[in-house]
Point group: C2
């Protein structure tokens, strides 16, 4: 599937910046990229503009396109997240996203219990039942996809569009977790019960119970993931802004 030249240019440069192939501080010239990719100026210029909007580069006259470091990247940019998950900084990205999940999902469950429309409640109950079935029969592939849809549904049901927007990176987190073999052979019976409890509490409009049930899930998630990547270096910006 040959995408547009524009997208390929973004991909080519952006992925190399995020995986460290092009170090921060490096200065590249638009003309270099033109000949390197065999495309014209307009393609390069438009791609650079998009990369600049993600904080990956700044372009200044007479000097060129300066590559910025991780402290300047927009960590919520979907492209940045994807490139980080694909490359070497995978562990740090998974840990960051998991910490975000642990913070956000209990709140999302609480809000969902207050505001979720009926369709979402029905779908949540449906998903919880199917998760139990898939989990008990050991169908890990189906379980993963149902798990993804369950958590995306809770985030959407919160009615907070920022929460809902985290569904995609969180889905990638869940996929990454299973790909790396951080999941148990088959889901714990407790986990199945907790998901059911979340769906029940949201459907019954019990915010406090929904939050607590989701916190149980997140507590285990946090142990599973953040323990593994605890050694990965943390990024601290300059204290003085």
């Amino acid at each position: 599937m040959p995408k547009s030249l524009h997208q390929r240019a973004i991909e080519h440069v952006g992925s190399r910046i995020v995986d460290g192939s092009i170090p921060a501080g490096e200065v590249i010239l638009a003309a270099e990229l033109e000949s390197e990719l065999g495309v014209s100026r307009s393609v390069i210029r438009e791609a650079v503009r998009v990369l600049a909007s993600a904080g990956l580069v700044v372009s200044t006259k007479r000097v060129g396109i300066r590559v910025l470091g991780p402290e300047d990247w927009n960590p919520f940019d979907p492209l940045v997240i994807r490139w980080r998950l694909a490359g070497g900084g995978q562990g740090a990205q998974l840990r960051s996203l998991t910490e975000l999940r642990v913070a956000v999902e209990p709140m999302a469950a609480e809000l969902a219990a207050e505001h979720a429309p009926a369709e979402f409640c029905g779908e949540l109950l449906n998903l919880a039942a199917r998760m139990r079935h898939a989990g008990r029969s050991g169908d890990l592939g189906s379980f993963l996809e149902l798990d993804i849809r369950f958590h995306a549904m809770v985030l959407a049901a919160s009615g907070n569009e920022m929460f809902a927007n985290l569904a995609n990176p969180i889905a990638e987190t869940l996929r990454g977790r299973t790909e790396l073999g951080l999941m148990p052979e088959r889901p714990h019976e407790e986990a199945l019960a907790w998901h059911q409890a979340v769906a029940d509490a949201i459907s019954a409009h019990e915010p406090h119970l929904a939050r607590e049930s989701m916190e149980l899930i997140m507590r285990r998630t946090n142990q599973e993931i953040c323990g593994v990547w605890a050694h990965a270096p943390r990024l601290f910006p300059q204290p003085r802004a």
Copy 2:
């Protein structure tokens, strides 16, 4: 200060989309924008590419530049957040950001207590002391700026770059809250004590205490903000993805 034509084009089109002047579904032509802004194609094309990366538009051959609706916007894009805060959707944006704060900041405080380098602890204690002084003397302007720096410092001290990146929108949230007169005449003595407790707990490396103290702050914040904007409509995407 006349910015670059590129930035002005982004601003012109993007702000009109977010504030609803250009409704979702509308199709605009690049040629229209050229004559409307009196700039050349390259400027328009580069601007459209950036707007497309934020999910505001999609451009397809033979049809033009189609404006997308709020459900497709990237709610974490700094430009989108700024435009939403500037326009009519201000209330919903403030509520969303506040809910995000309430979820994230206790977790950030917990992580900060585990990982924060010494410089951050010193600065936090310093800021807490100055906040108390400014708060008791009724200097609300200074208090606001110190409050912003305090919360930004906690987020940075968590060592999670996604949390740290929320400092700017959260700062705007705090400014918006005071501009709209949602703050008390002078800060409550309790609030001053809670901020001090957060700084103390982080400095003493007591994660649980840091989280609980921050939760006290957030609980009040949530009451102050989300109560006011409770009526604003919530955005629910389609349950079926």
